[in-house]
């Protein structure tokens, strides 16, 4: 490995992005459509933060998952329970939907059936009203932050930029949700936090592209917009790649070494960041080009001749 790798890399990449803009946009359209379909078919695998119910994290040092599941079913014969591995070291996550049994009764039944060396690490009870309230709050939070970001972009850029950035942002969020739906990763409170963070963070790449494009527009007024856009994307390419690499590297470390509780968060963030990097070049930029073309075509008041 050589230090100072960057000095071997060009300052600007020279990709011919122009022919890729439209297929890239189309691909994104398809991905968004598929995500929406996935969301309709499978929905999100809401965790008990949202559905309500009881969730118990327990550790049985000498049981396999099947044995643990059999014990759980024996302890709670009339309640539908699910038991899955949670990280390593024989830690299981036991979930029940809303039942007539309360949490204390469930715990009592479990301690009776499971062997003495079982450790109950965590017990969560969430009432049904709490979950609904959270879902509602979550949706409001996502919408409010999108509106706030849109407003900021609106103030900082002209409207075709603002609209394109917002579409790219919605694209990132939908793709992430679609991915979570596809792999049926549990959607918990921290996943919601990831979605909101993606709303704020994935747009960074778009902001960087547009900031630079705005600068070029001032400098090179004669050049056609599409070639400026291509140039801009090439100018920010190295930065986008390496920023993505470091952030994702940090998240992968968290995924591997940070424990099972944060894996959903990491997964959502990684997908969102990848989507964000892609959408800055292949969604926001071509969309902005389309909108600008539309503006050019609509007749305006005659501009003053320079």
């Amino acid at each position: 490995m050589t230090l100072n790798l960057i000095s071997r890399l060009p300052v600007h990449t020279q990709f011919r992005l122009r022919p890729l803009f439209w297929p890239g946009l189309a691909l994104s359209g398809v991905a968004v459509a598929l995500s929406i379909v996935a969301l309709f078919i499978w929905g999100l695998a809401f965790g008990i933060d949202f559905t309500g119910g009881v969730q118990i994290e327990l550790q049985t040092p000498h049981h396999t998952i099947d044995q643990a599941r059999a014990l759980a079913e024996k302890a709670l014969p009339e309640t539908p329970v699910s038991l899955q591995a949670f990280g390593e070291n024989h830690v299981w996550l036991l979930k029940t939907a809303q039942t007539t049994l309360n949490q204390d009764q469930i715990l009592a039944a479990l301690t009776e059936t499971f062997p003495k060396d079982t450790v109950i690490r965590r017990v969560d009870y969430v009432g049904p009203s709490v979950g609904d309230d959270l879902k509602q709050k979550g949706v409001i939070a996502v919408v409010v932050s999108m509106i706030a970001i849109m407003f900021y972009i609106w103030v900082r850029f002209e409207w075709p930029f603002g609209v394109s950035a917002l579409v790219a942002l919605i694209h990132d969020v939908i793709i992430t949700l679609g991915f979570l739906s596809l792999v049926q990763e549990e959607f918990s409170l921290s996943t919601l936090a990831a979605i909101l963070t993606i709303a704020g963070y994935s747009i960074n790449d778009t902001v960087v592209v547009f900031d630079r494009l705005r600068e070029f527009l001032k400098k090179h007024q004669r050049e056609p917009l599409i070639s400026l856009a291509e140039k801009t994307c090439n100018h920010v390419m190295i930065r986008s790649c390496f920023t993505g690499v470091t952030t994702i590297a940090a998240l992968i470390c968290l995924y591997i070494w940070g424990g099972a509780a944060l894996q959903g968060f990491c997964l959502a963030m990684i997908v969102g960041i990848l989507a964000g990097a892609y959408s800055s070049i292949f969604v926001a930029t071509p969309l902005m080009l389309l909108l600008e073309r539309y503006i050019q075509r609509t007749p305006k008041a005659p501009a003053s001749v320079v």
């Binding site: 000095s7 071997r8 965590r122 017990v123 969560d124 590297a249 998240l251 070494w257």
Partner: protein, 537 residues
């Protein structure tokens, strides 16, 4: 930019030093902290329940029920006042939202309205219209009522929890009708729930023996009676007793309650205040050989027979207590009853070992993440990368220090926020360095490209950080508990990243530049363009 003031260096140096001092105690063990000098900051970072273990309970106050009992009070108060004034309503209808009195046509409406208004008080809207008087809570009245109920409930809970001797319980109102209670370090919630959830409304009622004997579910009782169940050890079915609705004495008339022993069994000894003692003495004197029921929260604890008048105001509640349950009941009675019923709608228990595991994993992941990001930066940018790596370490220290100083709570998602900050912080530097490379390629001298690079990258850096800041702020507004912790670390992380990523790295690079002299070339740019940097040497 190339010649920063001495004061800038001094300021940065002091900031970093302060950060180190504030963050240090959090990195030490308790015994190591002991050996620090007394003037040294000793505060450590606040750990959320998910990291230190403990019980979190969210309670919801039943306002509807509280209002219904409020209307009951006003109804009987108004009835008494009207009786005194010599008018009788034809009917009184009470709903959840108010009361409607109907009078005959010739009734003196003005006087009636005044009387009812006098009973109800200022917070109520009393409207008279053709023989009908409606009493309802005004909007401000409703708010005051709810606020008042919540305040009383919070006060009562605080008194109860203080007496349990638990370590630093926290009781806070959340939203309009929720109470959020946290017990760090507790891992068995059952006793706490007993203390929290019990309304602890105590009253003594006479038993109607004749009705009790024939009572079953289908019997309609007169309005002045009520049936309550009594649970006794060994009984399969709880037994029901019919009681007078009017209480002989209530828990409000108590002056003290404590645990005591009778025939070797734990009991709760209670003492009435003057009013209570008088009423209890009178009631017992008038009803010798009858039974009375001791009712706690709509359930009969025991129903002893009155053998003698009890004049002194002392009584004993027995009913199969253990020493602990007797102690808890005495505590509940001392602290008074809750004005509203509280229902547990969310409850989370985290074992201390899980919390410790989470901290260990979080530290491990942060450390590895830090190393990996540092390594990437050094491999990418060489010397400049080392500066960034150094800035990253300082960033982590400062972030910790800010969390300590703000007394923010570090939660498990908060750790995720720290690691995310790590990854995002270097974005600032990548933006700057790429810009410097560009300016240098564009033909600017080294010094100019350094200063222009920092200058031009700033707009983008601010824009990019702003959007992240906005969504974190929204998270902070809407999130609860652990998620708030995430938003907090992310926001603080943005601020410290700007300081270390922009200000500190700039000082380091400027120092390097001035040491090297003007002839040196930019190390992060290939010396000869167009040849793929092969001539690097």
């Amino acid at each position: 930019m190339l010649y920063p003031k001495k004061s800038t260096y001094l300021f940065c140096f002091l900031m970093v030093l302060l950060g180190l001092c504030v963050a240090l105690p959090s990195a030490l063990s308790a015994s190591q902290r002991q050996s620090l000098p007394s003037w040294f900051p000793s505060q450590t970072v606040n750990l959320g329940l998910d990291l230190q273990g403990g019980v979190y309970v969210l309670l919801q106050a039943n306002m509807e029920e509280a209002k219904q009992s409020l209307w009951q009070d006003i109804r009987s108060g108004a009835a008494a006042a009207l009786r005194e004034a010599g008018t009788f309503p034809l009917s009184v209808v009470g709903g959840d939202t108010g009361l409607t009195f109907t009078f005959e046509d010739k009734a003196p409406m003005e006087k009636i309205t005044e009387t009812i208004r006098g009973v109800a008080g200022n917070d109520y809207a009393v409207k008279a219209d053709q023989g009908v008087v409606r009493v309802s809570l005004s909007e401000t009245g409703e708010k005051t009522f709810e606020k008042d109920m919540m305040q009383k409930a919070l006060d009562t809970l605080r008194v109860r929890l203080n007496e349990t001797g638990l370590k630093e319980p926290s009781v806070q109102q959340q939203g309009k009708d929720l109470i959020n209670v946290q017990f760090p370090g507790v891992d068995d919630p059952s006793r706490i729930k007993d203390i929290l959830g019990r309304t602890a409304k105590l009253s003594f009622h006479l038993v109607d023996e004749t009705l009790s004997q024939t009572y079953n579910q289908s019997v309609r009782l007169p309005a002045s009676k009520m049936a309550l169940s009594m649970k006794r050890e060994g009984d399969a079915m709880p037994m029901a007793l019919v009681l007078e609705r009017r209480a002989m004495v209530t828990g409000e008339m108590l002056s003290s309650a404590s645990t005591s022993f009778q025939d070797g069994l734990p009991v709760v000894a209670i003492r009435f205040n003057t009013v209570g003692a008088k009423r209890f003495g009178q009631a017992t004197a008038e009803n010798i050989n009858r039974r009375f029921a001791i009712v706690l929260d709509q359930e009969i604890i025991s129903a002893p027979v009155i053998r003698d008048a009890i004049p002194g105001g002392n009584a004993v509640i027995s009913g199969g207590f253990t020493a602990e349950s007797a102690g808890d009941l005495a505590l509940l009675l001392r602290s008074g009853s809750l004005p509203v019923t509280l229902k547990i709608i969310e409850e989370r228990t985290v074992g201390a070992s899980l919390g410790a595991d989470a901290i260990r994993l979080g530290q491990q992941a942060s450390l590895i993440g830090l190393l990996v990001v540092m390594l990437i930066m050094i491999v990418l940018y060489g010397l400049f990368g080392i500066y960034v790596a150094l800035a990253l370490v300082i960033n982590m220290v400062l972030l910790m220090a800010v969390l300590v100083m703000a007394q923010a709570t570090l939660t498990l998602p908060g750790i995720a926020g720290i690691i995310l900050t790590l990854g995002m912080a270097v974005d600032t530097n990548i933006l700057i360095f790429e810009r410097i490379r560009e300016e240098c390629l564009g033909g600017l001298s080294l010094g100019q490209s350094l200063s222009q690079g920092y200058h031009h990258a700033m707009t983008t850096i601010i824009d990019a950080n702003m959007t992240t800041f906005i969504s974190s702020a929204v998270l902070l507004m809407f999130g609860t508990g652990p998620i708030k912790g995430f938003a907090t670390t992310l926001i603080f992380g943005l601020v410290t990243s700007l300081f270390t990523g922009v200000v500190l790295t700039r000082l380091m690079i400027v120092r390097w530049y001035r040491r090297q002299g003007k002839q040196v070339r930019l190390p992060i740019l290939a010396p000869v363009q167009g040849k793929n940097g092969q001539k690097l040497a």
